[in-house]
Amino acid sequence: MISFKNVNKWYGELHVLNSIDLEVEKGEVIVVCGPSGSGKSTLIRCINRLEPIQKGELIVDGMKVHDKKTNMTKIRAEIGFIFQSFNLYPHMTALGNVTIAPMKVRNIPKKEAEKLGREKLTRVGLEDRIDHYPAQLSGGQQQRVAIARGLSMQPKIMLFDEPTSALDPEMIHEVLDVMRDLAKEGMTMMAVTHEMGFAREVASRVVFMDEGQIIEVAPPNDFFTKPQSERGKAFLKSILTH
């Protein structure tokens, strides 16, 4: 479903992605973790070309993301992307946020898009917040609207870039619950997160990154109990004892 082959990216001198090779199968849930600045956010932002890559091949759902000639609109429509800072449209209600892309990108009529939007908002537990503006919602609710916005495009892949990092602790679980349900329904997912409970429970594999490289890829139980690399051990120690 997602295939990285020797993917490289630089910011000036900084080698943010260094020879990345990774195959993600349909229905897999990949948790990406690593210290800050390790390139994990960049890794998933490349998948829908929010960041272009400079070298290597990146193929998503059979389409060449690395090729500048590829029309990204079609690929992006198939990928839901969840940001750390939600990035909801502040001038639209929850329903407006959820229906704009289906109407404008998929050309779904308004009535139908609203039916779909209500369905998705209900699914993330916000059926009573449909007409609220983002500023009238809590952080956890905003992030769930953002997930509903992603789902409203009926995507094949959902990407999460630290979806709970900007949330107060008591709101983290409501977002993780939604993500857990998605994972169990067979959605192909990649999530940059430090929520190790989530990783243990639903991840197919954990990808551990440091300094732009993938250091380890392992099933969560193996990674958490017996990490193979020194850096992996050091990282786990630092996050588990904090």
């Binding site: 829908n48 929010l50 990204m72 609109t73 079609k74 992006r76 429509a77 990928i79 839901g80 992307f81 940001f83 800072s85 990035n87 909801l88 449209y89 502040p90 001038h91 704009i100 892309a101 404008k104 990108v105 503006y133 983002p134 500023a135 953002a146 916005r149 992603g150 495009m153």
Partner: protein
């Protein structure tokens, strides 16, 4: 004597009203054209085409960095030298449109650039095209910060339009000059001139203040 001149001035009122009409016509046309050009240039200036950005930036700097009186002289007295001959009225509208457009360009570009980057990223990620992002996501948010200074710019436009009297357009200011030759009470005549400008500008000033308050309320509510 003062009473006599005052009566003379009252008799000249129709002449002044013609001047008001001329000021409104010059400023109004420049407002419409300047707003259209300013929005288009502002959107390009905030866009991704670097050469276009640089060219528009240079134009804005040039217009903002030279006196309006000089600009209007260039258009009215110097362009005929290279074969472009204009009447005073179209020359005035062109000069004032050019001036207004350059200021509105900066207001519009500033408003667009003030919309957080994440908004565009979210719209990009959901597959909206560049045009759709601008139309549905960026401009509706940018307009909140654009509107109050935009109307403020219209106030300046009305006042700056007095400069077109220098090339013979018979606007309020020109009417004042002509009248003061018959009625040598400068304070009285130009007091009326000022009052007439104020009558046009005051509603705009209020509108700008109203929009400013309203936009603040809306953005804190959101």
């Amino acid at each position: 004597m003062w009473g006599f001149y005052f009566n003379e001035l009252i008799r000249s009122l129709p002449f002044f009203l013609k001047g008001v009409w001329m000021t409104v016509a010059v400023a109004g046309l420049s407002l419409i054209f300047g707003t259209i050009i300013g929005f288009i240039a502002g959107i390009i200036r905030a866009g991704r085409n670097k050469p276009a950005r640089i060219i528009i930036g240079a134009w804005v700097d040039l217009i903002r960095g030279t006196p309006f009186l000089v600009q209007i002289f260039v258009i009215f007295f110097i362009l005929p030298g290279i074969g472009i001959e204009l009447d005073a009225f179209p020359a005035a509208v062109i000069a004032l449109t050019n001036l207004t457009a350059s200021f509105i360009t900066e207001i519009v570009a500033g408003g667009i650039l003030a919309v957080p980057k994440g908004q565009r990223e979210a719209a990009t990620a959901s597959g909206l095209s560049h045009y759709q992002q601008l139309r549905f996501i960026v401009l509706p948010q940018a307009i909140r910060s654009i509107l109050p200074p935009l109307v403020g710019q219209y106030v300046l436009l009305v006042k700056d339009s007095s400069v077109v009297s220098a090339i013979g357009v018979v606007d309020i200011t020109r009417v004042g000059w002509l009248t003061v030759q018959r009625i040598p009470e400068g304070l009285m005549v130009f007091g009326l001139v000022g009052l007439l400008y104020f009558a046009i500008c005051y509603p705009l000033i209020n509108l700008s203040g109203f929009l400013e308050r309203r936009m603040t309320v809306v953005s804190t509510k959101l």
